[in-house]
């Protein structure tokens, strides 16, 4: 099973490069701490997913690069070529001369339709190179114009053309302040459109990644390249091969399978769906693949990633880890809204199980306990079979309408990831993103009330009603997550 990556805009292209570089380095590292045979299987599986091979043997990333101006693409292509280890396809990029100018409307309504054929052709060529396609991974930021606007446009078109393939969007959530002034407008337009066409939104917040660079990696002068490496590390730890079930002899074939395509159904039908056997549903949608259930309902599509340990190489040399310690921290990060290992609030406890919470969470109340819809834990490294995951199976962690057995999954491999002897990654569909989303919607709404900057969008055909539609949809998402 292969994944076709589409990297859009300056942010998407810079991160895309780091992701492929991380995947390649890790799969070719000799530090896997496992048998030679195991290592070879791991490498082969990684390669099948993310790289194709040309005659001369240099792996080619299964990626399409899209930007509306040439500088970043030129830089990205040559960086990959200079690495000498892997490269991008010779004709797998599309760029124009003039960027989208931080204007979502320009990207979505002008650039998108104008270049639809060319971009979709490139993607189709990449798809044709795959023996079997598991889905699309679309990397974009939501603050600017190209990644956000064209990203939303392309995702929508992929949904039309490849409705049976999974589409997961990697969204870079902008800093709370200081990147792009119209970022909140661009963000609500992006999120609302992706909510209609994507299967899952994997979100990374710049503020959180920045903090990880400062606190955990101990970098003093943090560059975008530092941030992108942290991000690529997190994504690598999700996407590198793992075994699907205990004792299974084969590496999972479809890592994107962590997002389930659910039918656009209401809660009621979801309950009916879940009352059926989960395996039956997966077999129905994706023959032969065990699918995880991180997105059991179309109202809940936002996934966050947490990982542990993450530290500078210097500190790593002096650290040892136990599975019990790592998982205890990871669980507390989950329930207490922590974005990283440092500064976890250990006071937060799950509500007593069995007792229903007293009424619904008030709308603007500080969220203390983070309720989950579904979680996936990925463990990599030594003695992985000994790890005890009971802490994640507590029903109190989850919304009342899902049983832990359906809401929690684990992937494992003995093959260590990167330089970490043991490491654990959590992909969580929970209330993690309610606050940031609520903030973005609130700020965009305030600006919208003053009508500031609206003329820049109507110029390219995005009208006030389109904004209102986006606000309505996202207020619904916020309310749904709040009411878990």
């Amino acid at each position: 099973m292969s994944i076709v990556t589409v990297q859009l805009g300056q942010c998407g292209n810079q991160i895309g490069f780091e992701v492929f570089d991380t995947l390649f380095s890790d799969s070719h590292s000799s530090q896997g701490l496992c048998s030679k045979r195991e290592n070879e299987a791991y490498r082969a599986s990684c390669k099948e997913r993310f790289f194709s091979e040309e005659e001369n043997g240099v792996p080619i990333a299964r990626a399409v690069l899209v930007d509306m101006e040439p500088k970043v693409i030129n830089q990205t292509l040559s960086k990959a070529a200079r690495s000498g280890r892997w490269k991008y396809g010779q004709h797998a990029y599309f760029c124009q001369k003039q960027g989208s100018g931080n204007n979502w409307a320009y990207g979505y309504s002008v650039h998108g339709p104008k270049h639809k054929e060319s971009i979709l052709d490139l993607i189709q060529k990449e798809v044709e190179k795959c023996d079997s396609l598991s889905g699309f991974f679309i990397i974009m930021s939501m603050a600017g114009g190209t990644g956000s606007g064209i990203g939303a446009f392309v995702t929508q078109n992929l949904q039309d053309q490849y409705s049976n393939s999974l589409k997961m969007n990697q969204i870079i959530w902008p800093y709370r302040t200081g990147e792009v002034i119209v970022q909140n407008y661009n963000s609500i337009l992006t999120l609302s459109h992706l909510y209609r066409s994507s299967d899952a939104l994997l979100v990374h917040e710049n503020d959180a990644v920045h903090k990880i660079c400062a606190k955990l990696m101990k970098i003093r002068q943090i560059s975008f390249s530092d941030m992108n490496q942290v991000l690529a590390h997190q994504l690598g730890s999700v996407f590198q091969p793992t075994y699907s079930a205990e004792g299974s002899p084969h590496y999972r074939r479809n890592p994107l399978g962590l997002a389930l395509v659910s039918s656009p159904s209401c809660f009621l039908s979801t309950f009916l769906l879940w009352s059926m056997s989960i395996e039956t549903i997966f077999l129905f949608f994706f023959t032969g693949d065990l699918m995880e259930n991180l997105v059991p309902h179309p109202e809940f599509k936002m996934l966050s990633v947490r990982n542990i340990p993450q530290m500078s190489e210097n500190s790593l040399a002096y650290s040892t880890f136990t599975w019990a310690g790592l998982l205890k921290h990871l669980r507390q990060m989950l329930i207490s809204h922590a974005k990283m290992e440092e500064g976890i609030d250990w006071q937060v406890r799950p509500p007593l199980s069995g007792l229903p919470p007293l009424g619904k969470m008030p709308f603007n109340k500080e969220l203390h306990f983070n309720t989950s819809i579904a979680n996936l834990v990925i463990l990599r490294g030594k003695d992985v079979q000994s790890a005890d995951l009971d802490g994640f199976k507590d029903p109190a962690l989850y919304t009342s309408w899902l049983k832990p057995v359906d809401a929690f999954n684990v992937w494992k491999t003995q093959r260590a990831f990167s330089k970490y002897e043991k490491s654990a990654t959590l992909v969580s569909n929970s209330q993690f993103l309610v606050k940031p989303l609520d903030m973005i919607v609130g700020k965009a709404w305030n600006m919208f009330a003053s009508k500031a900057y609206i003329h820049q969008y109507t110029k390219f055909g995005i009208e006030e009603e389109d904004f209102l539609d986006s606000f309505t949809l996202l207020e619904q998402v916020v309310a749904s997550y709040c009411n878990l």
């Binding site: 931080n102 302040t177 002034i181 560059s223 305030n446």
Partner: protein, 474 residues
């Protein structure tokens, strides 16, 4: 990559333009040591094989043969343009891209706008079209002119309308030099107000510059340099006196140094569009982020470091000083105090060895001391360009959409009204064909409306607008 065309109008516009081309050449020479014509150079220069007669000599790649500025030079006198054509930059300008006359506009906006406008409209259009044809993807016209005289003010703003009609998709960024209150052109308030109406209506962004502020900045530098106390810390390579490989080693006239500041403004404004960086900012992002309402497109700019020593290691304290300075009124290119007025939006364009963490630290540090309008509390736009200015390790251009421009406009209006009440010199204007009294009344009400918009924004500071309740969902 996109291209831009510089249209320099009048004496002031051409002098600044001349400085700009000098600095632009030096900047690209410093970055591009191999002499290959690359995309960065192509944004402001054509590569031409001069041996080919006619217009067919454009070379799109390979070695630099002969660089021609993407410029149109317009003056209704010959003096300044002739000086340029006899000076060291003569080969950079294509003789086909000049428009001159001998009679001058006599410091009369009406002569520049109405008489020469009509007379030269076709010629101007032809040169503009020609310059546009030479571009692969024309993104922006940079118009440089002054507000107080006749040609720059009158013909310069006439041209804006022509650009708007002929190239509606191409941005119009205008660098406007405003007269100081001791200006020796007696009719400068008339000319400025008449020009303001055109700027209000036909520009995408205006970068107001004030001669007095430039002069103050130069005087301060001279003071520091001459006092010798700080001999060791004052750079010989500031942006202002920017010496490295300069054509003019010594600045006899203060105007040279002053024009240099403006030229640097344009270089830094376009650097992130021309060169690589980890956070690019294209020219079309400027108006998208900084112009919340079409009329409010006046951006106050400040450049740092102007007179601090820049050394390669950038101790953080000194780097942070650069950010603090950008908000001080001493560094603004018009007399304005953004720190004590209301921000609608602010852009920080950084060049050189500065990373995102430096930017964020400084935004967090400075934010509490700045007032932003209620609906844009986090109105920051940032860019990081990896190529520093020649002779520096880093630099910062701050662009502020801030109500602090209002006093400049009010003062101008006051000076206009004093003349206009007495009808002084009015007949010089009214005798020009096409000029009516209504031109004056319309211009002054256009300015009043602009001032009123700023007033309304300031009023929201004392009486905050209540937040509109969020949409509720069932």
């Amino acid at each position: 990559m996109t291209q831009s065309v510089v249209v320099q109008v009048g004496q002031c516009g051409n002098q600044i333009g001349c400085c700009f081309w000098d600095l632009a050449l030096r900047e690209h020479a410093a970055v591009n040591q191999k002499g290959i014509y690359d995309e960065a150079i192509s944004s402001f220069f054509r590569n031409v094989d001069t041996r080919v007669a006619g217009d067919g000599g454009s070379i799109s790649r390979g070695k630099i043969c002969s660089l021609k500025a993407r410029a149109v030079l317009i003056d209704m006198e010959e003096g300044v343009v002739n000086e340029i054509l006899q000076g060291p930059l003569r080969d950079v300008f294509d003789s086909k891209q000049l428009i001159t006359d001998i009679s001058g506009s006599g410091n009369n906006w009406a002569v520049g706008h109405k008489v020469f406008g009509r007379l030269y409209q076709e010629q101007i259009l032809e040169k503009l079209r020609k310059s546009a044809e030479h571009c692969d993807c024309l993104q922006c016209f940079f118009v440089i002119h002054s507000m107080g005289g006749g040609t720059g003010s009158g013909l310069g703003t006439f041209l804006l309308k022509v650009l708007e009609d002929e190239f509606p998709e191409v941005y119009r960024f205008v660098t406007s030099v405003y007269p100081s209150s001791e200006d020796d052109v007696i009719t400068s308030p008339y000319n400025s107000i008449l020009a303001m109406k055109e700027l209000n209506e036909h520009a995408d962004c205006v970068l107001p510059i004030d001669n007095q502020s430039l002069f103050d900045i130069i005087s301060k530098i001279d003071l520091v340099v001459n006092s010798r106390k700080l001999d060791t810390t004052v750079k010989p390579k500031s942006l202002v006196t920017s010496s490295v490989g300069a054509l003019k080693k010594q600045h006899k006239k203060p105007f040279d140094a002053m024009n240099n500041i403006v030229a640097n403004l344009l270089l830094n404004l376009t650097s992130s569009a021309r060169f690589e960086g980890s956070l690019n900012m294209d020219l079309n992002e400027i108006s998208m982020n900084l112009v919340p309402f079409p009329q409010l497109h006046y951006l106050v700019s400040s450049l740092t470091p102007l007179y601090t020593l820049a050394d390669v290691n950038i101790p953080p304290r000194r780097l942070d000083q650069m950010f603090s300075d950008a908000f001080s009124k001493d560094y603004q290119l018009i007399r304005a105090d953004p720190k004590h007025n209301l921000y609608l939006a602010c852009a920080l364009m950084v060049r050189g060895n500065v990373q995102i963490s430096d930017l964020r630290r400084n935004i967090e540090r400075l934010k509490p001391s700045l007032k932003f309008v209620s609906w844009n509390q986090e109105g920051w736009k940032t860019s990081l360009c990896s190529v520093p200015p020649v002779g520096h390790s880093h630099s910062l251009l701050a662009l502020a959409n801030n109500t602090c421009v209002k006093p400049t406009f009010m003062e101008l209006k006051g000076r206009f009204m004093r003349l206009y009440k007495k009808k002084a010199h009015l007949h010089h204007y009214l005798q020009v064909e096409g000029m009516e009294e209504s031109c004056f009344t319309e211009a002054v009400s256009s300015l009043s409306a602009l001032i009123q918009e700023y007033n309304q924004l300031e009023a929201t500071e004392s009486v905050p607008v209540p937040d509109l309740p969020r949409l509720s969902v069932a």
